[in-house]
């Protein structure tokens, strides 16, 4: 808990549960849930690989920059493990 992570900034085709507005953004893991089957595989009728699901907390300042409505308000979203990397990664 509390680890700083960054959401991968990929733009793959197809069924994805990682919202585009959070890609490339950094936040803190609030709690870890799962494992759950990977919906990106389930959607195509394949068995889903078991993945941890992390609830990640982002600040509005991180997500929207100077345009943030109130910079200290927060957003939490569930991000599957394969979309996250340590926030200090290049």
């Amino acid at each position: 808990m509390g680890s700083r992570v960054r959401v991968r900034n990929d733009m793959p085709p197809g069924h994805i549960r990682t919202p585009a507005y959070l890609r490339g953004k950094s936040g803190v893991i609030e709690r870890t849930l799962g494992p759950f089957a990977n919906p990106e595989q389930l959607a195509y009728r394949h068995n889903g690989e078991a993945l941890a699901l992390h609830r990640v907390r982002f600040t509005m300042a991180e997500v929207w920059g100077a345009a943030a409505e109130t910079p200290t308000d927060t957003i939490e979203a569930e991000i599957y493990a394969h979309w996250l990397e340590p926030a200090d990664a290049a």
């Binding site: 919202p19 959070l22 849930l33 609830r55 109130t70 308000d73 927060t74 957003i75 939490e76 569930e78």
Partner: protein, 218 residues
């Protein structure tokens, strides 16, 4: 909400949606065809469909209100809800099935609001089917970007010192907001408290009714 001038309102006060007395649409025709074929092939039965619709109709925000009122009055339940809301609410008879329920509590310093930007995930077992606005482009697009402006459209204005936390319901979690218990309700019973808990207060787009509201003890 604006007053509605339609002559034909349902018991809930909403206009009935076009149904039996309007020309049959392409998509209604498809629903009939798929349903009939599935029944003929033995995939499902007509009784299962009827029973599923009964379950759907029986799920209303009163379920969620009962959970909230209990959380306000029973510290052990409140702790159980925070620990694992799926288990705590299943024990009240509100089974969420394969999903996981997370209860998020409002305080004087924190206001939670729930949205699903990717589709329209909603805690149906506690609140029933989602309202149209929850599924709208405006709510799905704007809530993560300008929650205070969205809240203002629902008539809710919070001080800048109250942090707003938006929950984007992106996976198999469902969220229920546990609003703060209104002042002036000391000694109230669970049933009376439940009357103060509105649907919108459990999504985070509203606040509970005031104990002074004319319909507080409806």
């Amino acid at each position: 909400m604006p007053h509605d001038h339609h002559d034909h309102l349902s018991p809930s006060g909403h206009p009935f949606r076009a149904d039996d007395d309007h020309p049959l649409s392409y998509w209604q025709t498809m629903e009939i065809a798929v349903r009939e074929l599935l029944i003929e092939k033995g995939v499902i039965t007509a009784a299962e469909i009827a029973s599923q619709i009964d379950v759907m109709d029986s799920r209303t925000p009163a379920n969620g209100a009962a959970v909230v009122a209990r959380a306000w009055t029973d510290p052990d339940f409140r702790a159980a809800l925070q620990h694992d809301a799926s288990v705590a609410t299943a024990e009240m008879g509100f089974d969420i099935g394969p999903m996981k329920l997370i209860a998020v509590e409002n305080t004087a310093d924190l206001h939670n609001i729930v949205v699903c930007t990717l589709c329209s995930c909603y805690p149906r077992n506690l609140l029933g089917l989602p309202p149209d606005w929850y599924k709208s482009r405006a709510y799905r697009s704007r809530t993560v970007r300008e929650p205070r402006r969205v809240l203002a459209e629902f008539g809710v204005t919070l001080p800048e010192t109250t942090q707003i936390r938006v929950h984007d319901s992106t996976a198999d979690m469902r969220y229920i907001v546990i609003p703060a218990r209104p002042d002036g309700t000391d000694g109230w019973s669970k049933d009376d408290l439940a009357h103060l808990v509105t649907r919108d207060s459990m999504v985070g787009t509203g606040l509970p009714k005031s104990p002074d509201a004319p319909d507080a003890l409806a």
